[in-house]
Symmetry: C4
Subunit: 225 residues, 4 copies
């Protein structure tokens, strides 16, 4: 046993470490979104209208910021229920981070091409949809893995409860799979679906079932079925 | 109850988590300000004067750095009094972060257009004023929400004390609303008001009433009324 | 004694501080990788193919992201066994961070030159190999230093166990030394070796011997000899 | 008293918070240094020599990385002796952070102009010297302020010991003041002085007197006088 030879300082299950590192990556990715908004290069006369024409950048910034923000909420909601982190969970989490950290690129492509040049709108929306879809799938893969390794959880956990949680995480990826298909038909309609999906995640009925850290009202965590 | 099925590691109210994530975003946003200052592209002969002509960038950097610094102070001053974080507080805080993380963009636009090209000075000052105004309003929205949910605070809290705190947070947004209106009349005068407002926040009489973490002298937290 | 005159708040050995700072640098370096992927500048018609032609960037992003991710895992695996941090360990760790924080540059050079311009492929692969080699050597230098200062470890440690750990860290630097030599012969073959090396580190037989924070299964830490 | 009305969660003196925020800024500033190294734009044939011609960038990166690294060490060495943070200390620390976070800009100017274009070398070295000088002075201002407010320290502190610590922090600012004057005479000689100063800080005799967190050997903190 290596452990007996190289003893360790503490015996926390690694969950807090992993959360701290993931927090760092998420906080940086969310803040890097802004540096992809390009400062307009005009003579001063047209700065006002140039700034207004950047609205697709502002919208994309808002969408991606909100998405990463709620990935962060959901990530904590998951890991505060996890006691032990094994190597596979580590790798799946690194995969999730890889996808989220890629979002500033997809967001910048979306902002630049989705409205100004109509022929570029389709591939830009396609890239963004696929990035968001993969984030959703990577997130679900963590829950699925945990559902097969219940011993990693804090305390005793009912497998059915975990499976219901997986189902609750499914709608966003489904929407993004839809817009990935829709992007070549009508790229602008994708925006509508994304905004609706984001609002749904943030304040819709499903949000009330996603447990936050603190559950001020007991309904927030009650489960109807 | 989901909680009984998926138990959690600790029962802290989520406030420390939210602070850590917000700290990360604020620290990154404050440090990203510098990468919007463009390295001058001149032949070497004129580098000295090119660096001196960047003074609007240095001024904008100083203003925004100080502002984010004091947002951070005020944010901690608020959250160390908060015990529980519910979903609405989470969303309001994410809104505040979204506005602060946008500041590197507004600062860069201000630095580039406010002095070199007079016709661009007005929209640049307008954008900066609005960004700062929205930061101030987002910050107040957190206090207002808390004033209606006193149970989220640590210990017993007097509603009137919270309302006085809201009033104390009001002057900066008022100044930025003024400069938003003033920017199209005299963009340069806005700078004067911003510097005065920043100094007032940092070392003025109001500052002495905003409680810092540690109150070395008791006057620092005494409340005259 | 300065210590008796300027007493300190706590007596933790500095290991947690150093980990927190290193975590910050690693999380930022891993997230900065994305901003080196350049948004394509095309008219909209060719955006789809422009995005597909960026695949060397995506591959380089994935390779470097995974590498920094596992540097982070290995770094924790080391420092949770360390109780005291002396100045030399501090300097060696700063050297490791200096090399890892440089990786976004090497990755960007690799992505831009390795496939699009065949004559640039060799120096780009050379730079990347050397950067990765130096990261590996810097990492090993920490283990070697610790093997001569066993008192810095938590508890009693067998020198032979530390030496076995050093040997286990050796294969990646050897692969990168090989590709540094190979890059001028066949730059594309380097990619194959890098991907294989990364997979080996992540999920290969050696990985199972590198202790993770949490060792869900006892084989994960068992040591055959 | 506001404190009695809006009670706080914990009564730590704010020192840990301030350290965490400062750590974040320092970790980001140190990692941002790399993105100011510009990817060479050549046809592939000359990539090798283009990469070698970037050596002033590598040198500037190394210098600034090491400097920020040791600012971080010295910052911790200070704040782990501090129990209470008052508003003035907060503002002085924010001033220090403002100067350190500016360093990626000065470093980039230095790297681009110091060797390639001889007429730009003087102002570039001047800017870098002044930035480093101001960092040193900002750092000393914290110690000077603390020397007049001994009650902010952990435990009982001898004023003379603090004053000796101030003197020990003085040499680097003196060197940078010298190179600020020297830069217009011989910009390249500045590099030599900077490298020597950095080596002195890292491993010279003074370094052995600057207490690290952990003092493995008692000489590390012994004070001869």
């Amino acid at each position: 046993m290596v452990r007996s030879i190289l003893p360790e300082r503490s015996s926390d299950g690694g969950s807090e470490r992993l959360e701290a590192f993931s927090d760092g990556i998420l906080a940086i990715a969310i803040t890097l979104l802004v540096i992809e908004i390009r400062i307009p290069s005009t003579d001063g006369t047209h700065l006002g209208s140039a700034l207004r024409h950047l609205w697709p950048s502002y919208l994309a910034y808002g969408l991606s910021f909100t998405t990463i923000g709620f990935v962060w909420v959901a990530h904590h909601s998951m890991f505060r229920r996890v006691r032990d982190v094994d190597r596979m969970l580590l790798i799946l989490n690194l995969g999730l981070m890889l996808c989220v950290a890629f979002l500033p690129f997809s967001t910048a492509v979306l902002a630049r091409y989705s409205f100004t040049q109509s022929s570029g709108a389709a591939p830009a929306a396609e890239l963004y949809s696929i990035n968001m879809l993969v984030i959703g799938l990577a997130f679900m893969s963590l829950w699925v893995y945990l559902s097969f390794h219940l011993s990693l959880f804090v305390g005793h956990v009912d497998k059915k409860a975990v499976q219901r949680t997986i189902l609750r995480a499914a709608p966003p990826p489904i929407v993004y799979a839809l817009t990935a298909a829709l992007s070549f038909v009508n790229a602008k309609a994708c925006y509508v679906l994304w905004v609706l999906a984001t609002l749904y995640v943030a304040v819709g009925p499903a949000a009330r079932k996603i447990p936050v850290w603190v559950d001020a009202s007991s309904e927030a965590v009650s489960d109807a079925n």
